[in-house]
Subunit: 113 residues, 2 copies
DNA sequence: CTACAAGTTAAAGTGAACTTGAAGTCAAGC
DNA sequence: GCTTGACTTCAAGTTCACTTTAACTTGTAG
């Protein structure tokens, strides 16, 4: 897939895809022309990046996670699950914080009265 | 209170307090020396800012909220409550998103299989 | 062949939220 | 009076996650 098609399909701008590639989060091959060609699997990788960002990971952290994927074979569903496995806790923590904040709304901010 | 004491008590760096003041989020009087003197009430205002930030508001949005506080009297508990009243919904939405994301963890990212 | 859309690079710009640095002033203890 | 620490201003620097720009090259339709 060209970068444009990948952008359309993933909903992530071409410039962002180039940026991600520069950071090593995704990889492309090059056509004879020098144009990027993304494999179909890039879409899943990009979806993972977007997902992880929504949870609050930085691109650097996401890169570190992606680096854990096996290099010797295409990642299986299990590989992806292992990757995001630890996030449940992270999400729960954030939810708990928000709930604390919400319950704090009924109190006087700053003094707790 | 001096800026240093305010910083210690609020847990917000002096540089950040100056920055907030520059943005109009907090106000100080000046001692003869030109040094800032914050009223005790600034602490509550700062706590509000920190709180609102954790919920995800930008400083600009927070400024707009703070601008709604009455200028003719010190804000009462009711004033603060009115201010943060609409946040419950916002927090709930974010919690709902996180829960959606979390439940998405058990699915295959990017393909939903 | 000519447009014109889509791709390339490197470098600079953006905006949010601060922090840091330089150069100087002020307050307190000895 | 001197030192030290806390303060002042203003400008510039930082990090994150991109976007924009400029100057070109490629691919495609007519």
């Amino acid at each position: 897939m060209t970068i444009g098609e990948t952008a359309r399909r993933s909903g992530v701008a071409s410039s962002a895809l180039r940026f991600y590639e520069e950071k090593g989060l995704i990889v492309s091959e090059r056509a004879g022309s020098g144009h990027r060609r993304y494999p179909r699997s890039a879409l899943r990788r990009i979806a993972f990046i977007v997902f992880a960002q929504r949870i609050g990971l930085t691109l650097e952290e996401i890169g570190a996670e992606l680096a854990k994927l096996p290099k010797d074979h295409a990642p299986t569903r299990g590989d992806w699950e292992r990757l995001s496995g630890s996030w449940s806790k992270r999400i729960d923590q954030r939810i708990a914080e928000l709930q604390r904040l919400k319950s704090g709304l009924t109190k006087c901010i700053g003094c707790g009265c």
